[in-house]
């Protein structure tokens, strides 16, 4: 009873971490030792992420965009990019779509031209025998 349980230092609920780990198809059973370490490292991870996000920030408020910024800049956080995208304003979104549309039109035109050339070349060689038959 003199030695404190190491689990007591943890904040995150071990049972929940275990449930998440077991939701992975490759995991059947989770022993107490790996469970303890995964929980521990998850706490390290989330505090590390929050600290880095707050560093880039001069106010007293930590916001989503600060975290998303860290995630987008650090390649080891690639696994978070899908769930933490950079948020943009409606105006930025419209500008982005306008740019995309402009680019799309250009490439469409060029591809149409090239495909027309291709088809005309082909038709001149292949359609002649057909027309002779009919």
């Amino acid at each position: 009873m003199s030695t404190p349980k190491p689990e007591k230092e943890l904040h995150l609920p071990l049972s929940r971490v275990k449930t998440i780990m077991k939701s992975s198809p490759d995991v059947d059973a989770v022993g107490p030792e790996p469970l303890y370490l995964v929980t521990k490292v998850t706490e390290l991870f989330v505090t590390d992420l929050a600290k880095r996000a707050y560093k880039s920030n001069k106010t007293n408020l930590l916001e989503y965009k600060h975290i998303a910024e860290v995630v987008q800049e650090d390649d080891t956080l690639d696994f978070l990019r899908e769930i933490m995208p950079r948020k943009i304003t409606v105006r930025q979104f419209k500008e982005l779509m306008a740019k995309k549309a402009a680019k799309g039109n250009e490439s469409d035109e060029t591809s149409e031209e090239s495909s027309e050339e291709d088809s005309s070349d082909e038709s001149s060689s292949s359609s002649n025998p057909d027309s002779q038959h009919s």
Partner: protein
């Protein structure tokens, strides 16, 4: 075990508490930032788990060990967590072996297996 979808997320309140403790006092965290951090932590659990199980598979073993979790950190390029985690593992082993001595009689292995079975 995981009947509800919420069960696959870490509790928001706990994640927020951990984060608040590490940031300077008086820093507020927006609602969106809280949910974002909790989500990130939940995904991280799966990310580490799959990296560790890859090591287990590559070594043609079955059971996941603490050492696998340690090695997984290097694989996913989170080397900065290796040292604190190694210390945590050492501490954990010391305390659990002390506990086993205290309870006595029980064999080392059966103790571990029992704990695994209980939760299944």
């Amino acid at each position: 075990m995981a009947e509800k979808l919420e069960d696959l997320n870490l509790p928001l309140t706990v994640v927020t508490r951990i984060v608040k403790e590490t940031l300077p006092e008086g820093v507020a965290i927006s609602k969106e930032a809280r949910t974002g951090l909790a989500k990130a932590a939940s995904v991280f659990v799966l990310y580490v788990t799959s990296a560790a199980t890859n090591i287990v598979k590559n070594n043609k073993r079955k059971a996941l060990t603490g050492q696998d979790v340690l090695e997984a950190m290097t694989d996913i390029e989170f080397d900065r967590f290796v040292e604190p985690l190694r210390e945590a593992l050492e501490n954990y082993k010391q305390v659990t072996s002390a506990k086993k001595l205290a309870t006595g009689k029980k064999k080392d292995d059966s103790d571990d297996i029992e704990m695994v079975d209980d939760d299944q």
